[in-house]
Every structure is written in C-alpha cells, then in structure tokens.
C-alpha cells in the first residue's frame, strides 16, 4: 500500500501546500496579540485542515475523509469560532492579551520545535510512503506549536485555542495516514464538541468564582491550605 508519488505530482504538492499553510497559521497563533485575532487564525487553520482532509479523501479515494472534512469545516471553522467570539464579547476581553514570552523568543522556540519534529519523524519512518512521513512531520509540528501556544498564553480562551489547534494537528496526522479507520476522526470530532461544552462551562465558572479569566490567578490550590 505505498503510494509512489513524489515531488511534482499534484497530489503531493497540494497536500504539502495545505500542510505547510496549517503550520504557518500555527506560527501566526503564537504572535497574535488580540484575542479575536487568535480565534480568527484558528478558524482559518481549521479551514485549511478541512481542505487537507478533503484532498486526502480524493487522493486516497476514501469517501469517509470527506465526512471528516465536513466536520472540521462546520464545527471547527464556523461554529466554534463563532461561539468563542460570543464568549469573548460577553466577557469583554477582546482588547489585548498578554503572552508569557515575547514574540521573538516564542517564534524561535517554535522554529526549534519544527526542527525537532522533522528530526524525530523523518529518520524513523524511512519505510513509509514519502507523502505520509512528510505529512506526519508537519502534523507533529502543528501539535507541538499548539502545545507551545498553550504554554505561552495566560488567558483561558487563548489557551483553549492552543489546545484546539493541537487537535487540528492530530486531524492532519490522521488523514495523512492511508486507510486510517473512521474511529479516530469520529472520536476527535467528539472530543472537540465535548471539550468545547466543558470549556464553555468553565469559562463562566472561572469568571464567577475569580472575577477573571487569567489563569495565573488559579494558583490558590498549589499553596497548601493551612
């Protein structure tokens, strides 16, 4: 089941273009300063991932991947960003956001993570199809950058966007591997929906309890009660 596609074939180039775009958008998530811009970037990334899933459905002739693409498009590129915008508006936190790192250090760490992903994935997957292994390297980079976003953001909604972006990377990995059974796509879709409702609950509750969405204030428990 190896695809002998290489540089120059349309299926290969387009898959790369879409994966690369998703990765660039991960970098954009790192440096955006306004909460609403972060959400928009995430929506754009979800759109690109949906396109990547649809393209893989075409290349691998797997109709179920179109469904994955549809889920990504409707839920993650439209519904979740809209809901996030709604929450942001209600909580009046759309102004500016603080990041733990400056723009330059977080970009530098991001580049290092991409290098790490390539160094880890490419040498270990020598026997897999070229497209698969390069897709996997891109996907791992998106996952790691999502983690980095979660670490560098202080704000609960933007941390959540980092988590969702990480999950975009997982979809990218899943669709890139030939014949991956539907269970993964379904489960990730399931994850997003549930995660979102849970998070939604949390936002309001954190604000109710602490009057702020700043997770730095969530340090009450680490100080042991006397």
């Amino acid at each position: 089941m190896t695809h002998h596609i290489g540089f120059g074939a349309l299926s290969y180039d387009l898959a790369h273009l879409l994966g690369g775009t998703a990765l660039v958008l991960s970098f954009a998530l790192l440096y955006q300063r306004r909460v609403s811009a972060v959400v928009n970037t995430y929506a754009l990334q979800a759109l690109v991932v949906a396109a990547a899933a649809a393209w893989q459905g075409w290349v691998q002739n797997e109709p179920q991947l179109y469904l994955t693409a549809l889920i990504a498009l409707v839920a993650k590129a439209i519904i979740i960003p809209l809901a996030l915008h709604g929450i942001i508006r209600r909580l009046e936190i759309h102004r500016s956001i603080e990041t733990a790192f400056g723009v330059f250090p977080s970009m530098a760490v991001g580049v290092l993570l991409v290098v790490l992903a390539i160094l880890v994935v490419l040498p270990t997957t020598l026997n897999a199809a070229t497209l698969t292994r390069e897709d996997l390297a891109t996907a791992l980079s998106v996952v790691l950058l999502g983690l980095l976003t979660m670490i560098t953001r202080r704000n609960a909604p933007t941390q959540v966007v980092g988590f969702f972006s990480l999950e975009n990377g997982l979809i990218l990995a899943a669709v890139g591997v030939t014949g991956m059974p539907m269970v993964v796509e379904l489960s990730t879709a399931f994850l997003v929906l549930v995660a979102f409702t849970v998070f939604g609950l949390f936002f309001f509750r954190i604000r109710d309890r602490l009057g702020s969405l700043d997770t730095r204030r969530l340090d009450l428990v680490t100080e042991e009660p006397r």
Partner: protein, 480 residues
C-alpha cells in the same frame, strides 16, 4: 451478542436511568444497585475468555482489571450513600448536582471498563477520554474556587496527555500498516500482538514515546502528575477513592500491553528499543519524587494522592523490569494498592466529614474519639505503607528481590524511595490515629458505614498471606 457486553451495558443503562431520575434519595440506591449489577456482570467475564467477540478483547489481563474496577466501583457506591447524605446536610452539594454526580459516576466506571476490554486502540482512547471528562465534571462539582481550579488543571493536563496518546495511536497504526493493511486490524490488540515481530520497529519506537507520554499522564507518572493531587484533594471523596486506583490501572494496562508489543518486536530483531528502560526511569522518578513530596503535605487527601503517585510509579517500574515474576508482582501490587487506597480514601472521607476539614491539623486522635474508624484507617495506612502481614508487603518484596536480582544498582534508589515514603505514612498515621483528639464538627459515621472498607481490607489480607490458587494462576496468566 455474548454475556461479555453486559458489563458495559449495566453502567450505561444505570447512567441513563440516573440522569432521568430527579430524586437524589432514589438516585443513591440506583447507583448502588447499578454498581452491584456491573460487578456481577464482571464476575461472568472469566468464563468468556477466549470466546471471540466482535469488539472486545477478553483476555486474562483485561478481565482481571475489569473485575477489580467493578469491585471498587461497587464498594465505593456503598460508601457514597452515607457520604452524600452528609454533603447534602452540609450544603456542599445540592440535588441538581447530585443527579450529575451519580450519572457521571456510572459513566466514569463504564468508560474505564470499556477502555480495559476494548480490542480497538481507538475505542480505548475514546473511553479514556470519556472517563476523563466524567471525572473532570465530578471533581468540579463542589463549585469552590479550589475545586474549579483543580478540575481545570485536571482537564488541561489530561487533555494534552490524551492528545499525545492519540498521536501515538496514529503512529502505531502507521507502524502496523505495511503488515496488516488498511483498516481496523492495524489498530486492534488481537491482531497487532501476533504481528508485532513484523511491524516497523523504528515507527513503533516513535509510537511508544507518544503513548508513554500520553498514558503516563493518566497513570500519574512524574513529571506529568500535577493534576493528581489537586483532583484528589478537591473532588468529592468517593471519586478520589475510585480515581486513586482505577484510572491509573487503565493507563498502566495500556502501557503493559504496549510493552508486550515492543518486546516481541525487539526479540524478533524488528528494530524496536527495549521498552523497559523508559518505564523503569519514569517509575523510579515517580517513586522518588512522590516519597519526598509526602513530607511537607498538610492536606490529608493531597498526601494520599502523592502516595498513589508513588505506588503507580512502583507498578510502572515493575512492568519495566519485565519478566513473568516482576510483571506478576506489578499486577499484584496494582490490585492491592487499588483496594488499600480505596479503603484509605473511604476512611479519610468519613473522618473529614466528622472533623469538618481535611488537613492534618483538623483530623487527629481518631483512635481515642472514634475507635473503629481509627483502627480501620490505621490498618489501611499500614497496608499502603507495605508492612506485613498485609498484601502490599508481599508484592513490594517480590519487586524488590527481582530488582536486586536483575538491576542491582537500581535497588538502592528504589529502596530509598520506598523507605522514605513508608516512613512518611507511618509518621502521619501517628497524628491521624493516635495523639490528642481534635473536636468533632460533623456527624459520626454509623455502625455499618465501614463495611465496604472491611471487605476490601479482608481481600488485601487474604491476598497477602494466603492467595487462593485460582487467583494466583489467573494473575500468572495475565502476566505472561
């Protein structure tokens, strides 16, 4: 449709009923009845081993852990009856939240059983995810700032861990793809294990790293343990009791199966790294970190959460050591720790309701004021500290001798961690059970409240001094 599915249907049905019954008084008993039905269904499983089922993997390891999980789920639901009454009286929980609590309790137990018995790695992953979400909802129920923080931390850390585990699952599929072809075969334990030798070793290594990070987080291994103390300390005590053992076991079970997969590949020269080293490193790190973290703790539940991290680390260490004896010891240790720790948390739950607080300063001198509770808690803590004649002594002894036999230079740090941990437990035992009693600020537990604890402690004692032959045979089969 085989009887095996009953063990999954029982909690699912109970959860559905509980979600639709508004009365909490009724809900408490439905929860008990449902948990008992689940346990009875789990008892059918040993006779189903080897019979083919479409989606489940009924092997000795999964069956034994399912029976254990269902048993702890049942005893804890009994404990929960009295616990919930006091919480309602103290207004820490209200009726609406109790409905959610009971439904989520069943979802949590059911999801863990599905994770243990599922043949498909993807389904296992979804089940662990569902169990996590159910636990997060319950931990946040008291709605205090601390509980909300604990569940937020729980969700974020475990969410990331679970995401990494999914990535590992995808890579594992990629490793088996050339051998088993596209489709669910390359994601099912039953087909993966026989084909392990022919899988791509290098890709397996990559999968192992991510699955170890992901499920290691759920197993509470250092340095990914940060969610555990908070979730245990802030959530309702019955959940701490189930959480303490069972969810760790589910994650460790996946890691154990994965170890078998990599070891088979490595033995056949497939290029995989021996998985034991990483497991031992994480295990040892957890034991040492937790043993020293026990000392400065002021919160009783947080203290015992660190103790769970230590025991989970020890189990992972035993699995990493490899070989039938060490794996047997690891499985035995996991069982006994689950029972002993659930006993500890049930006693601590009673004590904290009695004393109106859960710090060491507030709970003291239980032997003087409430003799039965004091003695039961004392025995449970002694069991966790692995003193003879209780069962954990036997399992720790086995793990210790195996370490000396095969990795003598690791025996020293391991012994240091275990001694420091046991010493901390015994030091705290003195203030909890002996010494001057602190004032009571809540109702005393009724006479039968400790019955489930005695049941579990009896099991720990029997398994420690005279393990029935069928049980040891079964464990040996699971450890193969």
């Amino acid at each position: 449709m085989t009887p095996s599915y009953l063990v999954l249907i029982a909690p699912a049905l109970t959860a559905a009923v509980l979600a639709s019954v508004p009365s909490w008084r009724l809900g408490v008993w439905i929860n008990c009845a449902g948990s008992a039905a689940t346990f009875l269904a789990a008892l059918l499983l040993p006779w189903q081993v080897g019979r083919p089922t479409a989606f489940l993997l009924i092997d000795p390891l999964g069956v034994y852990l399912s029976v254990l999980t269902a048993f702890v789920g049942m005893t804890t639901s009994w404990f929960s009856v009295g616990y919930v009454r006091v919480e309602i009286a103290r207004r820490r929980l209200d009726r609406k939240r109790l409905r959610l609590y009971h439904a989520m309790y069943q979802v949590f137990v059911g999801a863990m059983l599905l994770a243990l018995l599922s043949d498909n790695l993807g389904v296992t992953w979804v089940a662990i995810e569902a169990a996590t979400i159910a636990a997060v909802l319950v931990v946040g129920l008291p709605r205090t700032a601390e509980a909300v923080e604990a569940s937020w931390k729980f969700f974020l850390i475990c969410g990331v861990g679970i995401a990494l585990a999914l990535f590992g699952t995808i890579v594992l599929y990629l490793a088996a793809l050339p051998v088993l072809g596209p489709g669910t075969a390359a994601m099912s334990w039953s087909t993966l294990l026989p084909a392990a030798a022919r899988c791509d070793g290098a890709v397996l290594n990559l999968a192992f790293v991510f699955l170890l990070l992901g499920y290691g987080t759920k197993a509470g291994l250092a340095p990914f343990h940060a969610w555990m103390p908070d979730a245990h300390a802030e959530g309702p005590t019955p959940v701490s009791a189930v959480l303490a053992g069972s969810i760790l076991n589910v994650a460790l079970c996946v890691l154990l199966r994965l170890r078998g997969l990599l070891a088979a590949n490595e033995a056949a020269g497939g290029g995989a790294i021996p998985p034991g080293g990483a497991l031992m490193a994480f295990g040892l790190m957890s034991v040492l970190m937790a043993a020293f973290s026990l000392w400065p703790r002021r919160d009783v539940k947080r203290f015992f959460a660190f103790s769970s991290i230590e025991q989970s680390g020890l189990t992972a260490f035993a699995f990493g050591l490899g070989g039938p004896v060490a794996t047997f010891a690891g499985l035995l240790h996991m069982t006994l720790h689950t029972l002993a720790k659930a006993s500890v948390f049930q006693c601590v739950g009673r004590a904290s309701q009695l004393k109106g607080g859960q710090t060491f300063a507030e709970i003291g001198g239980l032997m003087v004021s409430h003799r039965m509770l004091g003695i039961t808690l004392g025995i449970s803590v002694i069991a966790v500290a692995a003193l003879p004649p209780l069962g954990l002594f036997a399992s720790e002894f086995l793990i210790g001798t195996q370490t000396i036999l095969r990795m003598p230079w690791l025996a020293l740090p391991l012994a240091l961690g275990l001694l420091v941990g046991a010493w901390a437990l015994l030091a705290r035992l003195q203030s909890l059970c002996l010494g001057a009693p602190t004032p009571d600020r809540g109702p005393a537990p009724d006479a039968l409240a400790l019955l489930p604890v005695w049941l579990m402690l009896a099991a720990v004692l029997v398994l420690g001094i005279a393990m029935p032959v069928p049980v040891s045979d079964w464990l040996r089969m699971a450890a193969r």
